[in-house]
């Protein structure tokens, strides 16, 4: 039988590095990042597009990596949490803001929130409409589930990250 291993060659950029790989067509982007590239910061909380743990940035927009195939990222640019840190492992301003506000507990949802908040900050920096009030930030983050924190501390951190414009570089 066809055991699903039809493959295709794709070229994409992940965290600034261009790669050409031959990959099973049915492989999700999340599995490709986590298992094939070892970029395990991107987490899988539901694998059906609800929890946001797998959020990455594709061509500048936040997207779920669990509900798209790696081949769909052909020719695109993907950024994961691993792509945010400075050359010597310095925390990104968004990460600093979240640390300063004790935003997280177990950390499983965290990379998804970091990317979602990073996306919000970038939108703001680009002058596009972005959330201002806490209620708006809550709405904006409604696609990310955290079971530990009750969100308040995450909103605190996101508010600070947004207020600071959170640094210059992305």
């Amino acid at each position: 039988m066809n055991n699903g291993n039809t493959t295709r060659e794709i070229t994409l950029t992940v965290n600034g590095r261009k790669r050409t790989v031959t990959i099973e067509v049915r492989r999700t982007l999340a599995d490709f990042l986590r298992e094939d590239l070892g970029l395990t910061a991107t987490h899988l909380g539901c694998e059906h597009g609800v929890c946001g743990a797998c959020t990455v940035i594709v061509d500048g927009a936040t997207e779920r990596s669990c509900t798209q195939l790696a081949v769909q990222a052909d020719g695109r640019e993907v950024t994961t949490v691993e792509g945010l840190n400075g050359p010597n492992g310095e925390l990104h301003p968004v990460q600093e803001a979240l640390r300063d506000h004790h935003s997280f507990q177990c950390g499983f949802c965290t990379p998804g929130f970091v990317m979602a908040i990073h996306g919000m900050v970038e939108e703001k920096k680009a002058g596009r409409p972005s959330p201002c009030s806490r209620a708006e930030i809550r709405e904006e983050l409604s696609g990310n589930i955290c079971r530990c924190t009750g969100y308040q501390s995450i909103i605190d951190g996101a508010e600070a990250a947004l207020a600071a414009g959170a640094g210059k570089e992305s």
Partner: protein
């Protein structure tokens, strides 16, 4: 906000978490991040029916699929494992043993019927689709009442009448209490099944070393040592050849406190294959099969005086245990509910009976404050007593609460209360709320056609509880160990049996040790999650023990090493021990900083040349401390909840939520507040959104996050928190705070909803969850389904 470099006064400060760099950069090692060379992937085929006899299973096609390494049927698995047996010598407990993979009868949708091991998860799932299982359907039992009915289908031969355990206990003269009563107030609640749902599901990676015969299981667990010792017997592995580890854990909430049949099957498979196998549960499996909690029905009958004074209470509880027992035994849940239910109130007489019933559902498991229903029904009852007696919910509590002046005193369940400040948290909270204003706002809203409600509640929490308390429950209350070592360069390593999964123990234990030993946060490492390294404890992280117990072990351990170091330093510096201090890793004579010796220098001497250290000193810089809890104690809190109910859509919005909590001395207020808010969010979500629902055939209806609704940021209110921080005279006066929010928030919420319903002349909530549909039924907008 202090950073990691503060060197004293760490306890009580909002220091940055040591855990945060790892989790914010995604550098953690959660179990799904583990990749070993040659690692194989597992998938469980699961029952699609609730109750059936397996009459055939054909795995040949699956075995023939390229990339499939092994397929284990139930029979294959039972040949290499023992049945899981959680039975304990508890009178009247019927705890059936069961196989890791079913081979005879399936008893819930989601029960494993085969395990496929393949080169990838994709291939394992392909293979599962090729397996044919023949089921001879049996009638399912989908509720406690159905399970107890005459002629009900029997789940197990060794659980007569489907009753896992039944008991009745009497405290005080209950007959006299009812004979004197001016009012008898009755109430009931039917709580639905809801689930822990940590964002990281279950899973593990098992590696069998064919050379040494050692098996290593890297698990997502709250309790490495218990997992190890139960696993050893069931997979027939000598325990000294079994190591259980855990690194980052993506939440547990009680779920990861037990060992599951999947753990057993996975480890047995690794052993049979002689390599590394990995299983990561997907969310669908998790929702269906990992177990859920809270499905209890209670009825209450209170004898009260005309002024609202409690005289006696009769309670019955039916607990829907699902099909298979897990750890701890169901009697522990019943014991917890029974023992805690009188709460911080004066209650002279009490009768509690329970029946725990087996049904065709996934197991009933622990969920953050597994006894929570006691607070939910008691606090609702207090409101009902208030309305019966014509007094306010505040007044009825004031008339019955035990205050600090009343203590020490004994609960009717024979548990001594000391330093319990539930009444004080309640008064503080009421002082922060303008009750007249609340009523005026409600009236003004009603005039506009809007409906507002306000509710309160108060409680005590065994966090960690006392010897007496746990004896009454029927569960051991062990001491907590911690191994601590001053390394050769003066840095500190401590080994704890706690298995933190969000509770920030790396931070809080470092704060405590840092203050005791005068070393900075960055110079301390907390090792957890390795049975080869950490001292034994049955419990791991659960039951809100760590704040008291692990803290105590850390403080006593650090103090012992401090005593040894100062003794040595007093010889070296020719000063009295009392005149010495340790600051930032330097031991010096107070007021004479020139006279000093680095901790690292003392440590180097102790490790490398102990015979050259001052005579008569103890140069052993590693010590295993054990802390007995100094009798233990309770946490307490009071909550107030404001809701607005949309009478057209039935949506309940929590518009304000106030918590006044007292967990004694806070080690890190930011950590405490995170636990409180997270707990409240979970309690509110459980009441309003979440439901592990089954249909009449025992089919599971909530198998995705589209059906099982988790609270997201817009649904959770901002939580206002006030701390009381009552400190006892014990060395450790910190109490646990992880579970309380989830325990008490549902009570304040339902009281607020009932308050709103009463304003429009409608009856109270009698069953949960309070979904929009149920709310519209309660409001009389739609017919009851």
């Amino acid at each position: 906000m202090a950073g990691g470099s503060a060197i004293s006064g760490l306890v009580g400060a909002r220091v940055h978490r040591k855990e945060d760099r790892t989790i914010l950069t995604g550098a953690g090692r959660y179990v799904d991040d583990v990749q070993e060379r040659g690692m194989l992937h597992c998938h469980f085929l699961r029952s699609t029916v609730a109750h059936a006899r397996i009459t055939g299973i054909d795995v040949e096609a699956a075995r023939g699929l390229e990339g499939v390494v092994r397929v284990f049927t139930g029979a294959d698995m039972s040949a290499i494992t023992e049945d899981l047996n959680f039975a304990q010598p508890i009178p009247g407990l019927h705890s059936p043993a069961y196989p890791a993979i079913a081979h005879d009868v399936v008893r819930y949708v989601g029960e494993p019927v085969a395990l496929i091991v393949a080169e990838s998860r994709y291939l394992a799932e392909d293979a599962a689709a090729l397996i044919e299982v023949e089921y001879d359907l049996l009638d399912p039992v989908v509720s406690t009442t159905a399970g107890l009915a005459d002629g009900a289908p029997q789940l197990f031969e060794d659980v007569p009448g489907n009753v896992v355990h039944a008991d009745e206990q009497l405290f005080g003269d209950i007959e006299a209490a009812f004979a004197q009563a001016d009012h008898v107030v009755t109430d009931s609640l039917d709580q639905h099944r809801w689930a822990c749902n940590p964002m990281e599901t279950r899973g593990g990676v098992a590696t069998y070393d064919r050379g040494s015969g050692q098996l290593t299981y890297e698990a997502s667990t709250q309790t490495t040592h218990t997992l190890r010792f139960l696993l050893a017997g069931w997979i027939r592995q000598p325990i000294h050849q079994l190591r259980v580890t855990a690194n980052n854990i993506g939440g547990g909430f009680g779920l990861k406190f037990s060992i599951y049949r999947e753990d057993v099957a996975l480890c047995a498979a690794a052993k049979a294959i002689g390599g590394t196998v990995k299983w990561i549960e997907d969310r669908n499996e998790h929702l269906v099969a990992a177990g859920a909690a809270r499905e209890e029905q209670l009825t209450l009958e209170a004898a009260v005086k005309a002024d609202g004074t409690l005289l006696g209470l009769r309670v019955t509880m039916l607990l829907d245990a699902g099909a298979y027992p897990i750890n701890p035994p169901a009697t522990v849940y019943a014991g917890l509910v029974r023992t805690t239910l009188p709460g911080p109130y004066k209650l002279p007489a009490y009768q509690f009976s329970h029946k725990i019933v087996a049904t065709n559902k996934a197991s009933y498991i622990s969920l953050r404050g597994p006894w929570a229903v006691e607070t939910l029904v008691r606090e609702r009852l207090m409101d009902k007593i208030a309305s019966t007696c014509g007094i306010s919910p505040v007044e009825v509590r004031r008339r019955n609460l035990i205050t600090l002046d009343d203590q020490p005193t004994k609960m009717v369940t024979n548990v001594t209360l000391e330093c319990v400040t539930a009444a004080e948290t309640f008064e503080k909270m009421i002082g922060m709320v303008d009750l007249d204003e609340v009523r005026r706002e409600q009236e003004a809203a009603r005039a506009e056609g809007r409906l507002l409600g306000f509710g309160v509640g108060t409680f005590i929490e065994p966090a960690p509880g006392t010897q007496e308390f746990w004896a009454a429950v029927g569960f051991p209350f062990g001491a907590e160990p911690l191994r601590i070592r001053i390394e050769i360069d003066g840095k500190v390593t401590a080994f704890t049996p706690q298995t933190p999964h969000g509770q920030s123990h790396e931070t809080t234990l470092s704060q405590l040790i840092g203050d005791e030993l005068g070393v900075g946060m960055d110079d301390i490492r907390i090792v957890y999650g390795d049975t080869d390294a950490t001292p034994f404890s049955m419990l791991g992280t659960g039951g809100s023990r760590a704040a008291t117990m692990a803290s105590g072990a850390a403080v006593y351990g650090a103090r012992e090493l401090r005593t040894r170091v100062l003794d040595i330093a007093s010889h070296l510096l020719e000063a009295s021990v009392d005149d010495l201090e340790i600051v930032d890793g330097i031991v010096s004579v107070k007021g004479a900083p020139g006279a000093s010796v680095p901790l690292g220098q003392i440590a180097m001497g102790c490790w490398l040349a102990p015979d050259q250290m001052p005579e008569g000193t103890n140069t052993e810089l590693e010590y295993v401390a054990s802390y007995d809890g100094e009798g233990g104690g309770f946490s307490q809190a009071s909550h107030a909840c404001w809701v607005e109910i949309d009478q057209e859509t039935g949506k309940v919005e929590v518009t304000r939520f106030l918590v006044v909590e007292d967990c004694g001395r806070m080690i890190n207020p930011a950590v405490v507040e995170g636990q409180v808010v997270g707990g409240v969010a979970m309690g509110l979500g459980g009441m309003l959104l979440e439901h592990s629902a089954y249909d009449a055939e025992g089919q599971f209806l909530s198998a995705t996050f589209m059906d099982y609704l988790m609270p997201s940021a817009p649904e959770v209110p901002e939580v206002e928190i006030e701390h009381l921080e009552f400190e006892s005279d014990k060395v450790i006066s910190s109490r646990g705070v992880g579970e309380g929010g989830t325990v008490l928030a549902p009570a304040a919420l339902l009281n607020a909803i009932d308050d709103a319903l009463a304003q429009v002349g409608r009856g109270r909530v009698m069953a949960t969850p309070v979904t929009p549909t149920r709310m519209l039924e309660l409001l009389g907008v739609i017919e009851k389904a």
